[in-house]
């Protein structure tokens, strides 16, 4: 596709920068994600090799690969619109997304961030961490965070599907990141619910994705300011 002339591009940016000029929409997709079947037991993490990490927890924390709430609702599922959005640019928020390594666990474990939005990575632990991204579209990095470096800021330039972020010093530490080029995404909490707000009328394909399981999709049509529901069920 040819790029539009510079003046148009400038115009697009100007228009994108004035949200007030855009009509606001109130279409919403929501839903609950549940796990079907017998969940595998989640093992406690063995942090004994680093006394600093182990000392930050009263008892060994559990592996967060599968986080289930009452009624087997699933946490840490990434839900997003994958098609049906209008061909326009959505303003990128300036406020950073925060990823902390408190207690030698990445938190949040699953998160979305906009391309161009800053990511603040924190090291409140009094130990050595390293932040190793396995991105393919964006430049992968592997930066050490010794005790004296408590914060660094990184930006992903391009939209990218889910990739892991690991710490090689503490092999149990992992987070999953999705870089988005629009704001219509959410991550479920333990109660398994998600909400995608501000959608204009149209037909959307949405995807629910767990770090280990096969992604699922659903098609939802929004007519006006309404709320539609799309639930997903994962099983092993």
């Amino acid at each position: 596709m040819k790029k539009p002339p510079r003046i148009f591009r400038a115009a697009i940016i100007v228009m994108a920068a004035i949200p007030a000029a855009l009509p606001s929409y109130a279409g919403t997709i929501t839903g609950t994600i549940t796990f079907e079947g017998t969940p595998p037991p989640m093992k406690p993490l063995d942090m004994s090799e680093d006394a600093v990490c182990a000392g930050k927890h009263q008892q060994p924390p559990l592996d967060e690969t599968l986080v289930l709430g009452d009624g087997q609702t699933m946490g840490n599922v990434f839900v997003r619109v994958i098609s049906g959005l209008p061909d326009k640019e959505f303003p990128v928020p300036d406020e950073p997304v925060e990823l902390t390594q408190e207690g030698c666990i990445f938190s949040p474990r699953v998160f979305g961030i906009r391309a161009g939005q800053p990511l603040d990575i924190l090291n409140p632990d009094d130990t050595l961490h390293n932040v190793h991204t396995f991105a393919k579209e964006n430049e992968a990095f592997n930066i050490a965070m010794p005790k004296f470096r408590t914060k660094m800021t990184k930006v992903f330039d391009k939209a990218e599907d889910m990739f892991p972020i690991k710490c090689d010093v503490h092999p149990w530490m992992v987070a999953y990141c999705v870089v988005m080029d629009h704001p219509f995404f959410d991550v479920t909490a333990k109660d398994g619910t998600y909400t995608l707000e501000g959608l204009e009328p149209g037909t959307y394909e949405i995807e629910a994705r767990h770090e280990r399981m096969k992604p699922q999709t659903a098609t939802v049509t929004i007519e006006g300011d309404e709320t539609k529901t799309a639930d997903f069920t994962f099983s092993r």
Partner: protein, 885 residues
């Protein structure tokens, strides 16, 4: 009476003669006009006329539309009737003046029109002798002479007369013959290594350079469909008496080899590289004398001196009958039943050969299996220790893949079907010491403990699905009676029967078996007792690419073009297709076995064979390798022979084992979800920049006696039986790849006291960079499992070069993409990346201090082999091997 009719003493009739004069002058006039018209309408002039129009439209079109405009003709194919169709040739000039009028200034426009008029005049019939715009272009190439009746004449190439756009990038989408040559940076342009003026066209492509029309240039169609098209479109027919026909386009890379034969592989000539690799892997050099690069490669197949200790006669019979039925990926070709000649005779020959091989090989002492193993652990070992870099494991299917990694994994035999072939004890002893069984074995020593070997045996000897038929071998006496007369008798009438029958059976088998083995050339690939002195049986192929088809026997085959390339391709595809019907005696029969190459492989092998030509033509342009390149070539040969790329990524290719590591990680518990992401950390190291990284002397020792450097790796660098010369060649190769001086090394001058040393020590400490969190420091081990340990500093200091260590500290990622070593000095915020309270927060100084301190760690006695015993963790297989050896 008309005066002309008067004879006046003449013996001829004036009127009649005037009529004849009139007629002949008319004929002459006609002929002259015909000459003018024919000359004006020569095929190449028509091409040039079309090109001039194309040129005008292409050049006048606005830049943005240039690509689209010139792409158009391709989709419509203007050559439907053999020449540019009226519509396309007229539409373009009609369209272009309009755009010109709109954009050009009137004065410029006027000049352009008058130039067009002048050009029109210059090309008018009869005026075009002076300075026509359409001329015959020719290039005289002195460096690639042509043999013209034994005289060396310069090559004259007129190809550019029609191929007008060949050097001009703007015609990349133009239709043939105007298309730009691919890759002008490499070919034809004056700045490329192969400038047109020096190389011409036919030096690489073949063909008749002096030809000025489609047929007389000796174009060769790539396939039957193209041939049919050309026959109707260009009235094409083969030039029967032209020896130098053009190479069909799929084989174009063949010519690269004639000048670049000293290189081991040629970037960009992938088909040629594949063909050369296939020729090497298939062991063609076992029978055929080939160009120099195929010398000193050893025998392609295993030694059969100990066959009796390894397998059973039943297995050998079936193997000889159809090796691909037992192992679809084997390089062993099929000798019997190739052209449907399955017969009692083949059965008899197989029986005699089998008997001979067992009679002549030592059964050896069948030592028992010393201990029993665990198949589950064996399976994990198979997946992790490195077997799958060279072998295809049981249950895998890679045979249809033609990629380099798939070939690398076919370096050794596939590991399915071992129980049918051999015994657990044999596999155990083979794993423990391959060279005890076969001194020339390619299989390296993996330094397995007895228990590990036994575990692997337990896994590999699990019964598979294949079964070996117990064949009724028939009577050996009958077999001998059937075969012996053919191989021993000199004429059909004289049978060796009586003398043979008088010999003991064993001697009979010995005599006839040896004849059979010599006949089929078995000793070309295998070491076999009794036929060590056998000569290679195949035709010499060092100049096969230059052979005239008239020197080749097409036998009954008449469905392929009468051309060398077609003959070679058929020969490799169906080696006995050219067998004539009357050939009965063994000496008359074709012997080449069947390799079952795929179509793509056939094309690659044929390309390589076509590249084997008489060297004196290209003598002047033959690429002479410099010192460094010679070292690289010698190293590459070794790298291929030992299949280093089965495990390591070298020169950006290789690492065939990696997908199997991903598979193992994905199937094994904890880290399954990130198998792809972390596979790099568990794979054999990339050897990118190895010459810059390690001291040559260290590498020399390491290649002789490898010991673990990366304690977290389960995959193990095996011990190869490399000679000193080979080890030297390999270290020279790595140095040459990285333009490092060889064999001189820069030693580090480490300061081991004072504030600078203290600063480095502080940076190393747990309060700052905490290097010991992952790295082993002599006898100090990091906490946690060895999975996340990093190389020993004491060892590394002896191993690594100072410049490399410095670069590594600045940013390890570019040196080894995907490494677990994090970047401490984030290039994005370099000035803020180091601690502020050391060396005034100067990051460059901090890196110097770290480098200095690093090399003070290596001053102690750091023997390459001393480290493994010191490691306390029992989980690591490397730790225990020393005790067992």
């Amino acid at each position: 009476m008309h005066p002309f009719d008067k004879k006046d003493g003449r013996h001829y009739n004036v009127r009649r003669i005037n009529q004849w004069f009139a007629l002949s002058s008319l004929l002459l006039l006609g002929a002259v006009l015909w000459v003018v018209v024919a000359d004006h309408d020569r095929e190449w002039k028509r091409y040039q006329r079309v090109f001039q129009e194309l040129e005008r439209t292409t050049l006048n079109a606005p830049p943005a539309d240039a690509a689209a405009g010139s792409a158009e003709p391709q989709s419509e194919d203007p050559w439907e009737d053999g020449f540019w169709t009226e519509a396309s040739s007229e539409a373009e000039p009609a369209g272009s003046p309009a755009t010109m009028d709109a954009e050009a200034a009137p004065a410029e426009n006027h000049a352009r029109w008058s130039r067009r008029l002048a050009n029109l005049l210059r090309d008018l019939p009869l005026l075009d002798f002076a300075a026509p715009t359409r001329t015959l272009d020719q290039i005289v190439v002195y460096d690639l002479p042509q043999d013209m009746n034994f005289a060396q004449a310069p090559r004259v190439d007129r190809c550019t007369t029609c191929h007008q756009g060949i050097l001009r990038p703007e015609f990349v989408n133009a239709p043939q013959p105007f298309t730009t040559h691919p890759n002008l940076d490499l070919f034809l342009s004056s700045t490329s290594p192969h400038p047109l003026e020096q190389f011409g066209c036919t030096g690489c492509h073949g063909g008749r350079g002096r030809g000025t029309d489609f047929v007389s240039a000796a174009h060769t169609p790539a396939d039957a469909a193209q041939e049919a098209l050309w026959r109707t479109r260009y009235r094409w027919h083969p030039l029967e008496h032209e020896p130098g026909k053009m190479l069909p386009s799929p084989f174009a890379q063949a010519s690269c080899f004639s000048c670049h034969s000293d290189r081991q592989d040629l970037p960009g000539a992938e088909t040629l590289n594949q063909g050369l690799e296939l020729i090497e892997r298939a062991g063609c050099y076992g029978c055929h004398p080939l160009p120099a690069r195929f010398e000193d490669l050893g025998t392609p197949g295993p030694s059969l001196r100990h066959l009796a200790a390894k397998t059973t006669p039943d297995w050998v019979r079936q193997w000889l009958d159809d090796p691909h039925a037992i192992r679809p990926g084997t390089w062993m070709p099929q000798f019997f039943g190739v052209a449907g000649e399955r017969s009692a005779e083949s059965e008899a020959e197989i029986e005699i050969i089998t008997r001979y091989l067992f009679q002549r090989s030592a059964a050896g002492q069948r030592e028992p299996l010393p201990l029993s193993g665990d198949a589950v652990r064996g399976r994990e070992l198979l997946q992790t220790v490195g077997c799958l870099g060279c072998h295809i494991g049981p249950g895998e299917d890679l045979y249809d893949e033609l990629s380099a990694p798939a070939y690398q994994r076919r370096q050794g035999p596939e590991l399915a079907g071992l129980p049918e072939k051999t015994t657990a004890a044999w596999v155990f002893h083979w794993l423990k010491n391959p060279r005890a069984h076969d001194a020339g074995a390619k299989m390296p020593d993996l330094r397995l403990t007895d228990q590990e070997a036994a575990d692997l045996v337990a896994h590999l000897m699990q019964p598979g699905t294949k079964t070996i038929k117990t064949r009724n071998p028939g009577s050996i006496a009958a077999a001998l009676a059937l075969v012996a007369p053919e191989y021993l008798g000199t004429s059909p009438g004289r049978s060796p029967g009586p003398q043979l029958a008088a010999m003991p059976l064993e001697e009979q088998i010995d005599l006839v078996g040896a004849r059979l083995l010599r006949h089929y050339g078995c000793a070309g690939c295998h070491e076999i007792a009794g036929v060590e002195d056998a000569l290679r049986i195949g035709a010499e192929l060092t100049e096969v690419g230059g052979k005239s088809p008239h020197d080749l026997d097409f036998g009954p085959v008449d469905d392929i073009p009468h051309a060398t390339y077609a003959w070679l391709m058929r020969k490799v595809h169906a080696p006995r297709a050219f067998q004539r019907a009357g050939a009965v005696a063994p000496q008359q029969r074709l012997r080449m076995p069947h390799y079952r190459f795929s179509d793509e492989e056939l094309e690659a092998v044929t390309t390589a064979l076509l590249g084997f030509v008489d060297g004196h033509v290209t003598q002047k342009l033959h690429e002479e390798l410099g010192d460094g390149e010679q070292r690289i070539a010698a190293g590459r040969k070794l790298v291929r022979a030992h299949n280093c790329r089965g495990c390591h990524v070298m020169e950006a290719t290789g690492g065939a084992i990696r997908p199997t590591i991903v598979g193992w990680l994905a199937a094994s518990g904890d880290q399954a979800g990130d198998a792809h992401a972390i596979a790099g950390s568990f794979s054999p190291p990339n050897l990118i920049g190895e010459g810059k990284k390690v001291h040559a002397a260290w590498l020399f020792d390491y290649l002789g006696a490898p010991a673990p450097i990366r304690p977290w790796l389960k995959v193990r660098m095996p011990t190869y039986a490399l000679t000193v010369a080979e080890r030297n060649a390999l270290i020279a190769y790595f140095s040459a790849l990285d333009n490092e001086e060889f064999p001189f090394v820069a030693e580090a001058d480490a300061i081991d006291s004072g504030p600078f040393h203290e600063a480095g020590k502080k940076l190393f400490s747990v309060d700052y960079f905490d290097c010991g969190n992952c790295h082993i420091e002599g006898d100090k081990f990091p906490s946690g499992s060895p999975d996340r340990w990093a190389p020993d500093f004491a060892l590394s200091a002896r191993r690594l070069k100072p410049d490399w260590v410095r670069a590594w500290l600045y940013n390890p990622q570019p040196l080894l993409p995907g490494t677990k070593m994090p970047t401490y000095f984030d290039p994005q915020y370099f000035d803020e990346s180091g601690p502020d309270d050391i060396l005034d927060g100067d990051e460059h100084q901090q890196i110097e201090a770290l480098t200095n301190y690093f090399f003070t760690l290596g001053t102690g006695p750091a023997e390459v082999t001393s480290e493994p015993q010191a490691v306390p963790a029992p989980a690591e297989p490397e730790k225990t091997e020393k005790e067992d050896q």
